[in-house]
Amino acid sequence: MRPDLEIIQNWIEPESHVLDLGCGNGALLDFLKTSKDVTGIGLEINPKDIQSCIAKGVSVIEQNLDESLSNFQNNSFDTVLLAQTLQALNRPDHLIDEMLRIGKKGIVTFPNFGNWKSRTHLATKGRMPISEFMPHQWYETPNIHFCTVNDFDTLCLRKNIRVLARTVVDSKHQGSWAMKFWPNLFGETAIYHLARNERA
């Protein structure tokens, strides 16, 4: 399993109801179903991934995240997941709102553009970073909204979203003391556990 998914699964309660936005081949939902008795639905638009979900017995709905999620009721899921998809959305901020409307809690993972490698690449070469981790040229990348850990923290603050937990990991998806103290500099993948701050 992709190691960011390994961390995510610790935050998901057994027998809870999970919506996975951009569920890919359904590996996480399949794992959660068998290991934690989780019921879940994935949303996906890639036909190949949808086919993999069906073969696994994972419920999947062909639906574009850039279009409305209004077909999902308020509070209808325990957790709404968005793994490595935030940066590819038209309006990531709107989707975060939708996640926390539909789910009691949200989990978001994204590549941290504030990582030292990206910074060095941009600073020394003066060009958009390309790495194993971010392999696309700027003109063809599906990732149209890169952000840093600090940017995301600011968004959560502005939206009055409660950050229940935040973890960053490197490309091997391991944490280190450096990442703990300077997450925006050393973290390559950011993983957030979010909840609404209920206003009085």
Partner: protein
């Protein structure tokens, strides 16, 4: 035909089932007894857990797969999907396909003899609804000693029966597969049906539906009805490619919009000049020779009346509240009869009711008809889904 293709369900012999128990219909009328004609493909396992019910659409019947004899030119209407190794695999499943009540394929319908009068039911055959069909299908299920279907599967009007199953008999099916369906007809759908009905009833050979007594049939009207229906089954792009094979001399190059001519010259008269016209005539006429006009009227009414939400304050999600099966819905991009939005309406109500649902929107050029055709992504999805279902029902039974 010299031999049967190896992936065919083979030579099939339809069976007749007689029901003595009166059937109380939605209309309030009672059918004292009736017959259903049925085909089955594959073998029922010992646990009786591998049975699939196939529900047919407007002009379908019990002959879904295989051949009746070596002389047959065409296989059953869903032969693309049913057979050994096909998406609905006869090596895994026992597949039951019937002709619905009111049909003209051999089940009791307008062309049957009314035991009370000794003559054809004709226009006096009671209007049957999707709900009535499902009730009769449960009676058939009991005759076959099947407790629970592994899947109930259907496209178009067949998909509506699938939805009705999940609502009326939630414990009797493991999965519901509704392809190119709709939660109910729209005004546009009803309008097309009404044109079809008017075509039939205004044919001078219709005689108020009593044409059989006069040894005639409203072929012209039925032809017209089928022609207008057929247009709604195809997409604009499918028609362009079907009738745009040759580039006529009136077009400079490339796409001719499907305007293939029947002959070299325009007639400057009112006869058919274009291929599409003669195609529709041919399809309509062929249909009118094999289909009963009263059945056509009845089937279109069953479509118009279908609305499972009506008993639930028009809230379809409420209708699904007791449903106990998993759902697969599939729509096709160029289907304008029941476009993807209509399937999505069903999906959204299933989500609202917190049901297990999978939904696919297949890119396909063929319009509504795509559900009958071997569209690769559709076939693969159906196959994978049913393979999972097979594993589940075998495990559940063990």
């Amino acid at each position: 035909m010299n031999s049967i293709p190896s992936n065919s369900a083979g030579i099939i012999e339809p069976q007749n089932f007689h029901f003595d128990k009166p059937l109380n219909l939605t209309s309030g009328r009672i059918l004292p007894c009736f017959d259903l004609i049925v085909e089955t493909y594959g073998e029922l396992n010992a646990a009786k857990s591998n049975a699939i019910l196939i529900c047919h659409a407007l002009s379908g019947d019990h002959h879904a797969a295989g051949y009746h004899s070596l002389e047959d030119k065409k296989a059953g209407w869903w032969d693309a999907c049913i057979g050994p190794g096909k998406a609905i695999d006869t090596n895994l499943f026992y597949i039951v396909s019937l002709n619905n009540l009111g049909g003209c394929g051999g089940s009791t319908g307008p062309t049957s003899i009314n035991p009370e009068t000794g003559s054809h039911y004709g226009p006096n055959f009671p209007i049957v609804t999707v709900k009535d069909w499902v009730t009769s299908q449960v009676m058939l299920m009991e005759k076959l000693k099947i407790i629970k279907w592994a899947a109930v599967v259907g496209g178009s009007l067949g998909g509506m029966q699938v939805l009705q199953w999940s609502i009326s008999f939630p414990k009797r099916l493991h999965s519901a597969i509704c392809i190119a369906g709709a939660p109910k007809l729209s005004a546009q759908n009803i309008a097309f049906n009404e044109v079809a009905r008017q075509s039939i009833s205004s044919d001078p050979e219709f005689f108020g539906g009593h044409y059989l007594e006069r040894n005639t049939s409203p072929k012209k009207g039925l032809t017209l009805a089928r022609m207008v229906g057929h247009i709604t089954y195809l997409s604009d792009s499918a028609m362009r490619s079907k009738f745009g094979k040759t580039v006529s001399k009136f077009e400079k190059k490339g796409d001719n919009f499907g305007r293939d001519l029947r002959s070299e010259e325009l007639s400057f008269g009112f006869d058919a000049d274009f291929q599409v016209e003669s195609y529709l005539h041919y399809q309509g006429e062929r249909f009118s020779e094999n289909f009963d006009a009263n059945t056509y009227l009845l089937m279109t009414k069953a479509l118009d009346y279908f609305d499972p939400s009506i008993d639930y304050d028009s809230d379809l999600s409420q209708a699904f509240s007791e449903s106990n099966c998993k759902f697969l819905l599939i729509s096709f991009s160029t289907d304008w009869r029941f476009p993807p939005e209509r399937s999505r309406e069903i999906v959204n109500d299933l989500l609202k009711a917190n049901k297990e649902v999978t939904y696919l929107e297949i890119e396909a050029d063929q319009g509504h008809d795509a559900f009958l055709l071997p569209v690769p992504r559709y076939i693969e999805a159906l196959r994978s889904y049913l393979n999972r279902i097979h594993t589940e029902v075998i495990k559940n039974a063990a």
